[in-house]
């Protein structure tokens, strides 16, 4: 499978009469976008706001972050099975708006969702403080069931990104990256002297607001499977997860999975990147046993000498993380875990909720329990009404002027457990 990813650099976003890209600036027809989102009768209101890096702006509660991408050559559409037919993606050519995001904003449930500050101390922890953001602020119909509203919110973001992506059509990429993975035996033969390395990608799949979709299918329903890494760049995986902002894997993070991107950078140099094993994080303990058995079996079957292993979330997923690590190691594949840590405010407790002796190599993505100050901002996109209840906040953490103290858990992607952040330990 071979994919060319053409990046069109976007350095500013403005409202305009027509949605288009001119000289690296995205102009957005807000009325057209709003009208599109409001075609969903589960939503009663939507407004579009723009946020730029360095501005005194706070965006909260954030549901998802998405990069607009457009399929320009090859089969399928971006976000297959959701925004179009369930056709295999990852072939041909795709364009993306590099440096621009759609941010879906609005309360999903009273106590959740995170914060993006476009400037100030919290901006240092968030990758989306440095992007041009088109914020789609949505308001659900009164009395809508949480499940239904979550779905409406998810679709609003994906529809907005798909709409904006049309502006990429006749653009010339500023930069092009080419990713290629051959069928197993050919791939193994291409770099016979390099270690065969894979990636075990654990998808959050515990229930409402804890879900992920693979080609439109709820990841709870899958058994561990093999994926060409290129598929993820075309949106084969999307986020339906709204819990714990700091380590939530947004749809943007799936499109930009840093483990996959970094493995490709080392592909043919220090490793032979063989592919991705997808698995999930279920609640029933026997499913955990069954799926970690299957995951380790796939590693053995593919002849992997090493794997990188990531999770989404804390607690229950830590057990899947350890089961996958233990069984994969025991079957002869070396495992490196990448995850974030929650050792409590004083840093004295165990960082993970589970452990095994095979877990002897871990890359840390930071400590989510660290407390910082969030100064008041001049402009607010969304609402701060729930800060005390949002993850990382507490009773009395908010001041009258709009400033507050909170654990960095409240910041979108601050400690994301695949390393797409500033706190991840990196080698240079």
């Amino acid at each position: 499978m071979k994919l060319e990813l053409g990046k069109i650099h976007i350095h500013d976003v403005k409202f305009g009469e027509k949605t288009e890209i001119r000289s690296g600036v995205l102009y957005v027809n807000a009325d057209e976008l709003r009208e599109l989102v409001l075609r969903d009768d589960r939503l009663i209101d939507c407004h579009v706001e723009l946020a730029h890096p360095g501005e005194s702006v706070r965006i909260t509660p954030v549901k998802d972050v998405i990069e607009p991408r457009l399929k320009v050559e090859g089969p399928g559409v971006v976000f297959p099975g959701v925004m179009g037919k369930v056709t295999e993606v990852g072939h041909g050519k795709t364009y993306c708006m590099d440096g621009l995001c759609v941010v879906t904003v609005g309360k999903i449930v009273g106590f959740q969702e995170g914060v993006i500050d476009m400037s100030g101390p919290a901006a240092e922890y968030c990758p989306f403080s440095k992007t041009q953001n088109v914020c789609v602020v949505i308001e659900p119909k009164e009395g809508l069931e949480t499940h239904v509203y979550e779905s409406a919110g998810r679709m609003a973001g994906l529809s907005a990104a798909t709409y904006l992506a049309k502006a990429l059509k006749d653009q010339t990429p500023d930069e092009t990256e080419v990713f290629e993975t051959k069928p197993l035996l050919e791939q193994a033969a291409q770099y016979p002297d390099l270690p065969r390395v894979g990636y075990i990608h654990m998808l959050q799949s515990q229930g409402l607001l804890h879900d992920t979709y693979y080609y439109g299918v709820d990841a709870k329903q899958i058994v561990p499977t093999i994926m060409y890494p290129e598929e993820i760049f075309d949106g084969a995986i999307i986020s339906g997860n709204c819990v714990a902002p700091c380590d939530k894997v947004t749809t943007y993070h799936h499109l930009h999975n840093p483990v996959i991107e970094d493995l490709f950078r080392q592909h043919g140099k220090t490793v032979n990147f063989m592919g991705v094993i997808l698995t999930n994080e279920n609640v029933f303990l026997m499913d955990k046993e069954r799926h970690s058995d299957m995951t380790s079996k796939l590693c053995e079957y593919l002849g992997l000498e090493g794997v990188l292993l990531t999770e989404e979330g804390y607690g229950n997923p830590d057990t899947d993380l350890m089961m996958n690590c233990k069984k994969t190691t025991q079957r002869g594949t070396k495992v490196v875990i990448i995850t974030d840590e929650f050792p409590g405010r004083d840093g004295k407790s165990y960082s993970l909720a589970d452990v095994c002796k095979e877990a002897d190599t871990m890359i840390s993505c930071g400590n989510g329990n660290v407390v910082i100050h969030f100064p008041a901002m001049d402009r607010l996109i969304g609402t701060q009404d729930f800060i005390e209840m949002q993850i990382g906040g507490w009773v009395g953490c908010k001041n009258e002027d709009g400033s507050f103290d909170a654990e960095i858990q409240i910041i979108i992607a601050s400690t994301i457990a695949n390393g797409f952040n500033k706190l991840c330990a990196r080698g240079y």
Binding site: F111, G207, D287, A353, I391
Partner: protein, 140 residues
């Protein structure tokens, strides 16, 4: 027939749904805290019940959610007893870690309902597992 599955919960929404279930016994404790439910689960494991769901299921950390539901069985065990104790003790330790010196937020009625929905959804993701569904159906 004696029911070999037990839904242990302080979540009124879960209680409402499983009060009359043909296969699942309900053990509902309205006054229990999140931690109390875990302690009850631990005591049941010591008395021979088996842990069917992960006690830290859901990404909500203990200080972030007042409700907890745990599913137990007298039939087949998923894990060794030693491992079950390890998991439940780790869950209790996590509550203590995250609630130390913290005051529980004043949840609004709407937030409480949302918490109940999420807790129920998480436990139902286990009950809807094809493997567990078949086990319940076959009284295993």
């Amino acid at each position: 027939m004696e029911k070999i599955y037990l839904l242990l919960s302080n979540n009124p929404m879960a209680a409402e749904k499983y009060r009359e279930d043909r296969d699942i016994e309900l053990s509902y404790h309205e006054e229990d805290s999140f931690r109390d439910v875990l302690v009850r689960a631990r005591d049941l494991i010591h008395r021979g019940w088996h842990l069917m769901t992960h006690p830290q299921a859901s990404n909500l950390k203990p200080n972030q959610c007042p409700y907890k539901t745990v599913f137990l069985s007298k039939g087949r065990a998923a894990e060794s007893e030693e491992r079950e104790i390890e998991l439940i003790e780790a869950a209790i330790a996590a509550v203590d870690k995250f609630t130390r010196g913290m005051q529980a937020p004043r949840w609004t009625e709407k937030a409480l309902r949302d918490f109940q929905t999420v807790d129920l959804s998480v436990i139902e993701s286990a009950l809807n597992s094809s493997l567990l569904h078949q086990m319940i159906l076959n009284h295993q």
